[in-house]
Symmetry: C2
Subunit: 227 residues, 2 copies
DNA sequence: GACGTTTTTTCGGACGGCCTAAAACAAGCA
DNA sequence: TGCTTGTTTTAGGCCGTCCGAAAAAACGTC
């Protein structure tokens, strides 16, 4: 399996995981290739039984494809932990390096590295490391869905360089308890309060990239969260 | 620069370093490709100014090619130290993994890793790590050139999986002082004595893969070492 | 429901790196 | 010297992954 194909699998996996639309165009944009290349590769991966693709319609991973993608994500995140914890990489920088290393990593290396790092449960962005955690899925509730006076724990952020640069400036920490103070109208920023009572303004866009858990809804039920 | 091309450069570099003949065939055998592929790649590398190649004649690295190759060897050996010291890989196994990782390593990663490891001077096989050591070159005197009663310090061994498997069985250690007890005729083994007075028989072939330093010649001068 | 826009696919082609077969050359030996 | 053997190069071709142009399908809007 070429690094190339692996990246297609991982991209589909992550789009699915982040509840984004799995389309030819999305994949093309993420991998910086043309749409025809994506179609071609999807056809090849379908032939290999890793992807299920019907023209103009569905793109999804088969069980085999899912397993491969999960392996990749595992390797990726183990490397991220190494880079952040041992080599002191900035949170925004681990992704790019891990993206290359993951393809140079066989199962044995991944396992040894995992042991060396003490079987970490989460990567520096808060994503779970498949195989190391009891739970299999991350929270999919974003900070952006909360309403004023709701509170929640910041668990995970999207692993995107530009966002992470912004996130570093916000000085928030994963695991921190946040309370929404207010939400400005016209797609304005969220004002949240951290446990040490500091307030931070977060763009609506960025709030959609931040996943929370243990949500305490003040007035409304989760079903009404899009209000 | 593709991992592929990097491997050609490194191969030429290592052939040169180990004083072996730099021929199309040698390169083809090491990289497991056909002779035409080698010719083709040498032509391409010559065009890029990394290699100097005249048909049916010379193959050598340009200064630029040498610099690239040295960088690669540096990355390779830094990874080897990591794999051996931190992940407890066997000496015979580090090479293969490092061979892949080296191509996934930019300068920044190499530097950080190097710091993390404490700027090691030598890789697990005893080879110097370019940039970390004052000296630039390894010893090129093999154990195989010594005569009975000569003594020397085992400094470095060739980084080849099959040899290293054998070497592990010998239970010798790098840095250890060895004295040649005798040399069996008809290309028979070397009998050497270690500092703790154990004697070990080493095949003539293997003795050619083991480099020594601080040689004390008992009766003859180094010039007569091939006798 | 028809039309313009966007997305996806098909088609033909480029390029890198690999191959085999065969030709050119070099080296060793009779 | 010329023949045999081994090495290197040339020629032609394959496969994987990419592309742009253009056709086909789907989507959004009136």
């Amino acid at each position: 399996m070429s690094p190339n194909k692996e990246n297609y699998l991982k991209t589909i996996f992550e789009l699915e995981h982040d509840h984004q639309k799995i389309s030819n165009k999305n994949i093309a944009d993420i991998l910086n290739v043309s749409a025809p290349s994506v179609t071609e590769m999807l056809t090849a991966l379908t032939k290999e039984g890793l992807v299920f693709h019907t023209p103009y319609n569905e793109i999804s991973l088969t069980d085999a494809g899912l397993a491969r993608a999960r392996e990749l994500v595992r390797k990726h995140r183990i490397w991220e932990v190494f880079l952040a914890d041992k080599l002191h990489y900035a949170m925004a920088d681990v992704h790019q390096a891990a993206d290359i290393l993951e393809h140079a990593t066989d199962d044995r290396l991944a396992d040894r590295l995992n042991e060396f790092l003490g079987r970490p449960k989460r990567c520096p962005h808060g994503g779970i490391i498949p195989g190391n955690s009891d739970i299999e899925d991350d929270s999919d509730i974003t900070l952006g869905t909360l309403a004023p006076e709701d509170s929640a724990t910041l668990q995970r952020v999207i692993d995107n360089h530009d966002f992470l640069k912004y996130f570093e400036d916000l000085q928030l920490r994963l695991g921190e308890r946040l309370t929404v103070v207010k939400k400005e109208p016209f797609s304005g920023p969220f004002i949240v309060q951290t446990s040490d009572r500091a307030t931070v303004a977060i763009s609506e866009n960025a709030a959609g990239y931040m996943f929370v858990t243990d949500v305490h809804y003040h007035t409304k039920t989760p079903d009404q969260k899009t209000e």
